[in-house]
């Protein structure tokens, strides 16, 4: 299993409300679609899976590692080596070119660099495969359209073939055509690298692209396993 969670709970500091998440068991190479209304904890769940935040209660194993037992720096290392991330928006470091944004994980992780071979070459291939024109490679984030920025972010998440990609509503700013195209391209590239994609969206129309589904309801409710 690339992800296995049991009785996972999250409570914000100095708040009484507690989020309780359904248990997840996701085999390596499979994808998971998570959807739910605003406030249901979709983004929080991704932050727990990435190791950025520690669960308040419950067990969470990612890449076969118990995140609760890892120090902050070990979780940072695990994330750098084995997890790609795509945000909803503002995905790029504004002062880096598109190419430098894509190769950023290879600069943060020796493992990703080794997996990528030549990072710049791998970045160009991924960007081309994701339909980015060559002239955008050297442009900085503010010079790219929203759709281009999302594809650059996808290329960054895919470089170095991380086993897990966490995508937090990456299509929310795209129109329907570009949304479907983006998801198809992402999954196509993930299939090439053998990465599992955990895709969060409030849009149930995207569910059909994914084999496993998880619906988050309200703050204290749990739902079925995928």
């Amino acid at each position: 299993m690339i992800i296995k969670t049991t009785n996972l709970c999250w409570q914000w500091p100095r708040q009484t409300a507690r989020l309780r998440f359904p248990d997840i068991s996701l085999p390596a190479g499979e994808h998971l679609f998570i959807h739910g209304p605003s406030g249901s904890g979709k983004t929080t769940l991704l932050s727990l899976l990435s190791g950025l935040n520690r669960a308040t209660l419950g067990s969470i194993r990612v890449h076969g590692q118990d995140l609760a037992r890892l120090s902050g720096s070990a979780r940072d290392r695990l994330r750098a080596d084995r997890t790609g991330v795509i945000f909803q928006q503002f995905n790029l470091v504004p002062y880096l070119s598109a190419l430098d944004n894509v190769t950023l994980p290879c600069r943060l992780s020796r493992h990703r660099r080794q997996q990528a071979g030549d990072p710049a070459d791998a970045a160009r291939q991924l960007m081309t495969a994701l339909g980015l024109p060559m002239e955008t490679f050297t442009r900085k984030a503010p010079e790219l359209s929203t759709g281009q920025q999302q594809r650059v972010a996808a290329a960054r998440a895919l470089i170095g073939a991380p086993p897990l990609i966490l995508a937090d509503e990456p299509t929310s700013a795209l129109d329907v055509v570009n949304r479907d195209r983006f998801v198809a391209l992402l999954l196509e590239q993930a299939a090439r690298t053998g990465s599992s994609v955990v895709f969060v969206s409030h849009d149930p129309a995207l569910a059909s692209h994914f084999g496993n589904h998880l619906e988050l309801l309200t703050e204290t409710e749990t739902e079925a396993n995928p």
Partner: protein
């Protein structure tokens, strides 16, 4: 943490925000220039004062304060309160313990430059800097009553050459309405530049000074009582008084004994001072002001650094997403914190480098003016240890104040919800 990555990201980040950071860097550059300038000038002014006279064991004049005597006799600043009798000078010159004695008679001026009545002993015994003697670059020392030798700066700024005739003014002010135009002096020689007040002096014989003042009453010439040049040349022109004298003692061990004897001289109330001690006294007086000036300047730098941190903290509020992206991709909180440290230190280093360049450029432009106007010889030289340390303290201070946004960023990176800032 990856230092090369941090450096590369910090450099790119600074360049990306260059327009916003330009003004704050400029402010810091100017304040560091001021800090360096104050210290540099302080060192140079001390050097300039210290090198003005060397080899002189005692300065002798009418009874007055040590500083006053030093300032008017060597630096031509201020005026003597009284004169030294020629008889006393002659008596001192006969003292076996005294090796040499240079008479100095001040009072008149030439276009803002002090006229110094003296004799050949000034050329032979006066030393400056590292015991360097005076030298003539043109012509020869005066031999006639109405000959004059010019200091290097006087000759340069007023464009005089040997053979030129000049008319001295009565009194020591920059502007004088009473001139000794009946007795023009011919330039017989020009002294080599020394970077000391000697360069600003106009040197004539004691007899020459005496001659042009015969027949003067209450600061103006009495009609029919002044002497013609030819008449002056054949007349006995021994002065009654002079302003001061510089003395060299045969054996240094006797200096204090001679000083004590002069201070207790029965003929008239005299003061003998040690130039080094008087200079030390001068620095003691000025030291408080120097310290105050340095304190104010350092405060200006601190204010500039505070401005820099304020800008960085303001920018930090716009950088949450960038930090979130870096964190999500595996950057550690310490890497994020190091970005702020590097950016702040980088700006301080840039400002320091610019300030150093700016100061040397300013020096190139201003040094000739300082020499002409105030007689301060400010040399273009490598930085001293203290100046280098002062400059080094700026990036270090940048590192310290950069810790404020760095710690804030580190805490942000560690606290829950390090995911995308929404």
């Amino acid at each position: 943490m990856k230092p090369s990555l941090a450096l590369s990201l910090a450099t790119a980040s600074l360049w990306h925000r260059r327009r916003i950071l330009l003004l704050v860097t400029l402010t810091l550059t100017l304040s560091v220039s001021l800090l360096l300038g104050v210290q540099y000038l302080r060192t140079e002014v001390r050097q300039s004062f210290n090198s003005a006279v060397s080899g002189t064991d005692l300065i002798i004049g009418a009874r007055s304060g040590e500083l006053n005597l030093l300032l008017y006799s060597v630096f031509h600043i201020g005026h003597a309160t009284n004169n030294l009798g020629w008889n006393s000078f002659q008596e001192l010159a006969g003292d076996d313990r005294i090796d040499w004695l240079i008479p100095l008679s001040l009072g008149d001026s030439y276009r803002g430059h002090r006229v110094v009545g003296t004799d050949r002993r000034f050329l032979d015994y006066y030393q400056y800097g590292d015991d360097q003697p005076l030298q003539l670059v043109k012509g020869q020392w005066f031999s006639d009553v109405f000959e004059v030798v010019l200091g290097a700066q006087v000759a340069r700024t007023l464009g005089h050459r040997t053979g030129d005739e000049i008319v001295l003014s009565h009194g020591g002010g920059r502007t004088s309405f009473v001139k000794h135009d009946q007795h023009p002096f011919r330039v017989s020689g020009v002294l080599a530049a020394t970077g000391t007040p000697v360069d600003r002096g106009v040197y004539v014989s004691l007899e020459g000074l005496e001659a042009i003042h015969i027949g003067w009453e209450a600061g103006v010439p009495a009609p029919g009582r002044t002497l013609s040049a030819d008449a002056a040349r054949i007349r006995e022109l021994t002065p009654d008084t002079i302003t001061a004298a510089l003395a060299g003692i045969k054996r240094p061990i006797l200096t204090f004994q001679v000083q004590r004897d002069i201070n207790q001289y029965a003929g008239e109330p005299l003061s003998a001072i040690l130039p080094g001690v008087a200079l030390a006294q001068l620095w003691q007086v000025l030291g408080q002001f120097e310290l105050l000036l340095m304190g104010i300047t350092a405060f200006v730098v601190v204010i500039s650094l505070t401005g820099l941190v304020t800008v960085l903290l303001t920018l930090q509020t716009h950088r949450h997403q960038e930090i979130a992206v870096l964190r999500a991709n595996g950057a550690s909180p310490s890497l994020i914190a190091s970005l702020y440290l590097l950016e702040c230190t980088g700006l301080a280093v840039t400002a320091t480098a610019l300030a150093t360049g700016l100061w040397y450029l300013a020096l190139l432009a201003v040094a000739p003016w300082l020499l002409d106007t105030f007689g301060l010889a400010i040399n273009l030289r490598p930085l001293t240890g203290v100046e280098s340390l002062l400059l080094l303290s700026v990036p270090l201070a940048g590192l310290v104040v950069g810790a404020i946004p760095a710690i804030k960023a580190w805490r942000l990176g560690n606290r829950p919800s390090g995911w995308a800032a929404e």
